[in-house]
Assembly symmetry: none
């Protein structure tokens, strides 16, 4: 059960197990919280409800998080980790600008269909402490710049038609972020289908003619472990 022989009295493993159990509970709190926050909105959701869904009591949450805001921020951070992960992977891949952009759109679209991904665009940074809000805003800026960067690259390498990277990025990001608002699990569209559709749709207008005739189907991030991200978002450990 614990993955170690029963006769192994190593207190270290016990310690390890404890830490693991703790981390699992922490994550359970975050999963519950992000759902509730998305369902009801951060302000309407109470810590009591979060605790109730976890069958614990409110103060127990404070064993894992410093405050309600801390929980909010950590939810966001988990989503941001995903984004950082696939951006790092795409950055490390060998593709022209258009290819990277398509990969980005695809991965981003998929992420928007997850709870933590949606939290990236549905949570309000103004609910965060100044320090955390700063972190969030910096990350948002980073994502925007990644979009622009790929577009600029594409223009440079000829895979993307000359255009204004800033506006193009806004338009694409808007479409993608919107997914976080309308996507419902259990609907007729799977995240993957949405991602495929958007990857094509949002880039076809930018592609130079030849590049537009795409043969390959899956422009997702090249096979890389999600964990291959560069740097997770900075956050204070409790």
């Amino acid at each position: 059960m614990d993955g170690r022989p029963a006769n192994d009295p190593s207190p270290w493993m016990t310690f390890e197990n404890r830490r693991r159990a703790r981390d699992e509970k922490r994550e359970a709190v975050l999963r519950t919280a992000v759902q509730l926050f998305l369902e009801q909105g951060y302000h309407r959701a109470t810590l009591n409800e979060v605790a109730e869904r976890l069958n614990i009591t409110k103060p127990a949450l404070y064993n894992y998080f410093r405050s309600k805001e801390d929980i909010l921020f950590e939810c966001w951070a988990l989503g941001q980790e995903q984004v950082d992960g696939f951006i790092a992977a795409i950055d490390g891949s060998r593709q022209n600008g258009l290819g990277k952009l398509r990969a980005l759109v695809h991965s981003y679209a998929e992420t928007m269909a997850t709870d933590f991904g949606a939290s990236l665009v549905r949570f309000d940074p103004r609910d965060l402490s100044p320090s955390n809000a700063k972190t969030v805003r910096a990350a948002k800026r980073g994502i925007d710049q990644t979009f622009r960067r790929y577009i600029t690259e594409g223009i440079a390498d000829g895979s993307i038609k000359p255009c204004d990277p800033k506006m193009a990025a806004f338009a694409i990001a808007g479409s993608l972020n919107w997914i976080g608002h309308w996507y419902q699990r259990g609907g007729p569209l799977t995240p993957d289908a949405i991602a495929d559709d958007f990857a094509e749709r949002l880039t076809e207008g930018l592609a130079t003619t030849t590049a537009g005739k795409r043969a390959a189907k899956k422009p997702s991030a090249p096979k890389t472990k999600k964990s291959a991200a560069k740097a997770p978002p900075q956050r204070k450990k409790k």
Copy 2:
């Protein structure tokens, strides 16, 4: 001063004036409120702050609105009126589907750059009473359907390439709604420029080749008074 002779003691005109003054104050409240709600978010903004900015006291607000939520809803309603207005105008115009879609995108983009317009996408319907929330959701559905309708029309009349109207509408609406989140008055981009750019950008991928070569610059709604809207959103009068 009031547009009537000072010696006219007509109580009826006085009454009329009273009503007008009242309406002006109501609007002033809404303008202040929508700004504050956008600035700080609905929950962080307090009625005290709204009142303070108007140099009145909190209870005075209750002379014009039944509740904080009422104010929120009315803000939304003003934005929705704008949308209803230009949709009615476009509906009444003689254009092919692509033309209507472009006109819609243009007007919608412009609206997103206004306070009341932004409130359409930045306010959370869950902050409204069930009844008002229903109204809002119906209106949102209406807008979505308008997008799909124009696209369908365009496909039928050959101005738009065959595609999935639902996904196309989502993509376009997402880009547009996103404007409400990033547009800042005083930035380098004017609402009109944004609207022009988006009208072109978001439809070029859909246009059939010939239709894509657009000559005319301004595809905005044919000269119609904004107030020519058909039906203002249903709402309870106080």
Copy 3:
């Protein structure tokens, strides 16, 4: 009733009355609070109890004070005002050092027998905000220095035997502050009797022989209005 003719429609007086009523309520809160804080201690006393004793509800207190700590500080400030008042009066009086010291002891002893006076020594400055705590500590230092100053004056003018002003001040102030801890209203000793006794007792050891044979009985502050204080303690108005 209002001290003005009934036919006087002056809204200003109404305003004045309002303000007076408000101030009276504020004071009532402070009187209730200081009693409760002395009875039970600041931490054990809840705002609910304060409100209950006033037959109002807890949030009503927030119309008059910003926080529980604010109430605590204002209680202290009222006591400090008394002290500032009689110190100013004694400072302005024509007496030798011993006379001033006796007057100070007498007035201080009397003050210690009042609620607001006792709050000066029974409230804990660490319960105050840093800013308010600073004010309190400065005031405490001021009182100490007044004791030392009178003693030094007395030594200079020959009315007090040469001694260490610092230790003498500590000894005297300690005896006086202690009153705030043991004095109970309704006991066998009246504040005035205590004040007389301490004024004599705490100074006889210091007096030079001739000055020790005091004839006059009442060494209290020369007839001055209590309100003739110089500067009330600085505090933020709500």
Copy 4:
């Protein structure tokens, strides 16, 4: 190491050692707690902080004490033991009333400069359980009566001028207790110097003329072991 041969397997000694170790830890807790309570005040100090300073965890404290209040009471008890000790010693000494009073003042002043001594006057009996509070109040009364008793003795044996023992005791005790509030370790005054000063200062006013001319310098309690106290304060064993 433990004062017994290493090859002695006597479980009883082990038991004895355990008890000793336990007592040492208990005392360490009390020393840490009394400091923290004095530093921050009983209510602001948390058991977590106490535990942290001891490099243990909060629940570990419950191995030695039943509750936070229990710790508070035991701190007080240690201080009271000191007082009981020197009072017993003085009681057993051969001196006139004035001598005893001076000895008492001296020892009490010294005690006030210790942490446990200061706790006697800086801790609030209302933070204790009714039962413990009763014990404390009885002890306080006992100290007061000791002061009065020595004064009365002194009057009887002619070493002290006729006066009101009650008020004299209040005045003296107040000065002494105040030491607990202003004395800071590391200041310019040593506890011994303070004790000397106060022993002289607080009694010179009471001494009959001849007795006032004191020759001996150190009026402290006749050489007796501190532990020679009669009875430690009654308290419930865990």
